[in-house]
Point group: C2
């Protein structure tokens, strides 16, 4: 039986949404040397997608991204950054929309809102995946972390969106590091290097890494870490100040 | 007398354009120690604005940005980069649209397309302003370079768009340097430093600048420049390879 209250606003016959604009969120999860990405699987379809959706008529894009991420995955208070707007005319296809709606017991009229051309504004975030509990929404079977090295085929241009987000994450890592809030208030150079190596997907030379990080002017050196072995104890660091918002 | 062929498509009663999406271009001009920005002045209004416009139904955003920049300023073959999508609900106002249309002899119906909510995708470019000849379109009085330190009040959120573009230009300078194509095939470290100082709007310490540029791994050192004074001749450099497209 249809339960209309479980349908997203976008499946209503005349949804009260901004025409032509959607938002897609690439949520990277980091923990203990692993980099993952958060994907939804649409109910009864085996179709994987980024958490995304449409924009309300009185809502800016940042607000829309935060709202729909929470609606679709239950992740709240995530530091989302806009990174690129995707607009190729061939990026979506009507058949996929029909498959997803039908599998959840809904038929969409041929002239339905959802078959319009949409451009999609991409947002990304990097979170410690051990600290959040993703929960699928009513039209999804699952909401799970997938290893970055084995991302399945996604609907539409979502694999392209993931790749662009990953390029952006890696490119922006120095300047976003503090904002991502992934490290404890004080940390060792080794902990910082492990985070970089996981996200960049490669090993780094310790001396070069340390020289580069210190040259960025974002770290303050504190006392040595209390380990019991005083001579070998590593220095602790903290961030000097918030990063730029760019 | 109205000359409808001079009106932009967006002023037609039912324009064949994508609803809700516009594009605005921030064109930075660099030459001989000066950094400028290209602005249009709408006919008979004294209102300054970025060159921008609307997106055709079968056009992606990159194509739209290139097309409208050429339509509105006569600048062609410019390397435009998308940088941010602007979406606050209060970013435009109807009265400004009416003023601009009326001053060009056009009345827009109350429910006209142009009064819808629009989000705008920002593009930027950096060009040598001595090599191009900006030409205003039919609905503008002028299309001129304005010094970055004395930008007039612009319509809508265009001053905010300029500031975000300038932040992006400065942040991305290292990685976009070759793509901007502002330097001759070979150049001295001094010429490169002058370009940086102009765009960053501050003096740089020569030794630090040289060390940083060489550490980026994008420059190849060539022979010394022929100046007649062999001992003081500076080295010439060229770019090793194209920059990343991010």
């Amino acid at each position: 039986m249809n339960k209309p209250q479980d349908f997203p606003e976008s499946w209503h016959p005349k949804p009260d949404l901004l025409p032509g604009i959607s938002v897609d969120c690439v949520i990277f999860g980091f923990h203990d040397g692993q980099l993952k990405i958060l994907l939804l699987e649409y109910k009864n379809t085996g179709l994987f997608a980024l958490p995304g959706g449409f924009v309300q008529k009185n809502e800016d894009l940042d607000t829309a991204a935060r709202r729909m991420l929470e609606d679709r995955t239950a992740l709240s208070k995530i530091y989302l950054e806009q990174f690129y707007t995707f607009s190729t005319t061939s990026r979506r296809n009507d058949e996929t929309h029909r498959t997803i709606a039908t599998a959840s017991g809904r038929t969409l009229e041929a002239d339905h809102f959802i078959f319009n051309r949409f451009i999609s504004v991409g947002y990304y975030a990097l979170v410690d995946f051990s600290t959040v509990v993703p929960t699928p929404d009513a039209i999804s079977d699952s909401c799970n972390w997938h290893d970055i090295s084995s991302i399945p085929q996604l609907i539409f241009d979502h694999n392209l969106i993931v790749n662009k987000a990953l390029d952006t994450l890696r490119f922006m890592l120095d300047s976003k590091l503090n904002g991502f809030n992934l490290l404890p208030p004080t940390f060792t150079m080794n902990e910082l290097q492990q985070l970089y190596e996981t996200i960049l997907g490669k090993k780094l030379v310790r001396s070069n890494f340390q020289r580069k990080m210190l040259s960025l002017g974002i770290l303050q050196r504190l006392d040595k870490k209390q380990t019991g072995a005083a001579n070998k104890a590593p220095y602790l660091y903290c961030f000097i100040k918030p990063q730029t918002t760019l």
